[in-house]
């Protein structure tokens, strides 16, 4: 018996994984950079 798969389900899953992973990485890199630069400014004030 031939299995029938909806190709759009796989396309959607791949885009969620790809875009989700990239957006999470950008957000983490930006937030951790800003936090590190704030720590540097605080160390200057101490």
């Amino acid at each position: 018996m031939r299995e029938v798969l909806d190709q759009w389900t796989f396309v959607t899953a791949a885009y969620v994984v790809g875009i989700g992973g990239t957006v999470a990485m950008i957000a983490w890199a930006w937030i951790s950079m800003r936090a590190a630069e704030r720590r540097r400014e605080r160390s200057r004030e101490l």
Partner: protein, 255 residues
Amino acid sequence: MHGFANPARFLRIARWLTPIFMVLGIVLTAVALVYGLTSVPPDRLMGETVRILFIHVPAAWLGMAGWTTIAVASLVELVWRHPLAGIAARAAALPGAVFTAICLATGSIWGRPTWGTWWVWDGRLTSMLVLLFLYFGYIALSDAARRQGTGNMRVAAIFGLVGAINIPIINRSVVWWNSLHQPPSITMGKSAIDAAFLWPLLAATIGFSLIFGGVVLARMRAILADMQAEARLRRKAMAAAPKAGVAATGTEVLG
């Protein structure tokens, strides 16, 4: 190149380059992916799943480009002691690992409707999985060196260089061994891909590459800021130590 070895000069340039890379990368990627989803016709053989390649191919390229960055930066660190090379290598590890993981996941999702299986242990897929484990090893090694506070990144740099042997293996795996994975579609100056698929693919590859560059710059700025804060706090603690020592001696005498 040595002009950029100065961290202060690098930070001046990176401060305006980071948001430019990120914004341009996000816009170009979004345009390419939306165009790829809505305007590209389904492929004769792959059908609608051809659209997965607009994410999968750039992710594969950046997974390999990430490790090439680590290897080149490690070589520069070991040979010329370039102060920013080790930081660049550490900064490239995480985005490289993320794109390798995205490549493996989207490839597996593409493989199920196209090949009829999520995974096969062939040369291309296995060498790409090895690359992901190499990234994990590199991140663990460089993080351990940082936590020890020795700043000695030599072991991580040597690991980065040795791991580069996997890059040509990934690239040639579909030529050397029988594989379900198709042979290279784009070679020097030639492309077997129709223009309808090629242009969104190239745009997505450039867009994701700009995002990769922006994330590497952001990681380098974060690592440099942490190093500068730690060094400043250490200097202040050392400057305060003799006074504390005098106070302690005084207390002893008084006691």
